[in-house]
């Protein structure tokens, strides 16, 4: 009898699960792209979608690529008719949030580039998240007018 109760309790525990365990990070990176740059242009911008399917808030802390000395999180804002671009220390991605980095908003600034970004080229970004750890995403370079 005692054994039966114990095994039932165990089964119940397993079914309900432990909240701290089910909060394993589930980050999905997709649609990495960037616009081609001209020779002499020191910086480029990369865009992507970050989908946090996990149950825990996370944040992007660093980005790296072999195609530029630095890859940093930047945000363009237009307030009062003035375009401003500022660096963000980190980029929070709340649990369940799907964040699309797109032109005129948040982007990954690559600067200075080792060489111009050429249409058709694919580069890789290594993104480190506070909880999700290191993730890699391919970034496809397109002609500036393509999207």
């Amino acid at each position: 009898m005692f054994r039966a109760i114990l095994s039932a309790a165990c089964a119940a525990l397993m079914l309900s699960g432990c909240p701290s365990r089910s909060a394993a990070p589930d980050l999905r990176l997709s649609d990495g792209w960037a616009r081609a740059t001209a020779p002499g242009q020191s910086s480029g911008a990369a865009y992507l979608t970050i989908d946090n399917r996990g149950e825990r808030d996370d944040r992007l802390v660093t980005v790296a690529t072999t195609r530029a000395a630095t890859a940093t999180i930047h945000q363009s804002t237009a307030a009062g008719g003035i375009m401003r671009m500022r660096m963000l220390a980190t980029l929070p991605v709340a649990a369940g949030e799907r964040l699309t980095l797109s032109p005129g908003g948040t982007h990954i600034m690559l600067a200075p580039l080792t060489a111009p970004l050429k249409p058709g080229e694919t580069l890789e970004l290594t993104m480190r998240f506070e909880h999700g750890g290191e993730r890699r995403i391919p970034v496809t370079v397109v002609a500036p007018g393509a999207r």
């Binding site: 616009r35 081609a36 740059t37 001209a38 020779p39 002499g40 242009q41 020191s42 910086s43 480029g44 911008a45 630095t70 940093t72 930047h74 363009s76 237009a78 009062g80 008719g81 003035i82 375009m83 401003r84 671009m85 660096m87 032109p103 005129g104 982007h107 600034m109 690559l110 600067a111 002609a143 500036p144 007018g145």
Partner: protein
């Protein structure tokens, strides 16, 4: 008593003046609002991306869209230029429907050859203009444009600048603006009216 009242009123007036002064002081320097753009524009002389002198007289008889930016701007400037090229295509009247002008607010770094390389990426004609810092300052004033260099944490600098695209009709008259957050449909409507 009368005197006390007077002093009290004076104190009130002083407090009101101080409050007004504080409000005025804390207000950010902003560009002229769209309403005050009505009188903007005027003749100017700059250098094009081939290094040749460019006069605003060359624009006579054709509408144009004017955008101020800089080539080391990785996000907003390519977005705006790519959008103008796309809207001009959607208009369906060819690249001759209106001119697209890109004036640098970073003349120290953007020389004619830099503009030429940068603008060649868009696969459509865009007139790139630069000049001496003094010339650029004059043109900015003529068109009510704000810009300011901002140091970047990793070194170098970025440039904050007026975001709107300014539109001018074929008679050279001001024809409104296109804001970056404005939808394509109203923007296209403005360009249709401009080129009609």
């Amino acid at each position: 008593m009368k005197r006390f009242r007077l002093i009290l009123w004076l104190a009130v007036a002083l407090a009101a003046a101080a409050a007004l002064w504080l409000i005025a002081r804390t207000e950010q320097p902003t560009p002229p609002s769209e309403a005050s753009f009505v009188s903007i524009g005027g003749p100017f002389a700059l250098t094009d991306s081939d290094g040749k002198s460019f006069s605003s007289r060359q624009l006579a008889g054709k509408p144009y869209a004017l955008f101020f930016g800089f080539t080391n701007c990785p996000d907003v400037c390519p977005t705006t230029l790519a959008r103008l090229v796309r809207l001009r295509r959607q208009l369906g009247a060819g690249d001759g429907a209106f001119d697209i002008l890109f004036v640098t607010v970073d003349p120290e770094r953007d020389r004619p050859a830099d503009l030429k390389r940068y603008l060649s990426l868009y696969g459509a004609p865009i007139i790139g203009l630069t000049g001496s810092p003094a010339q650029i300052e004059r043109v900015k004033k003529t068109f009510g444009i704000f810009s300011a260099k901002v140091p970047q944490p990793g070194g170098g600098y970025s440039v904050d600048h007026s975001a709107a695209v300014l539109l001018f009709g074929k008679d050279g008259g001001f024809g409104g603006t296109i804001a970056p957050d404005e939808g394509d449909a109203p923007a296209l409507g403005k360009l249709k009216r401009l080129t009609a």
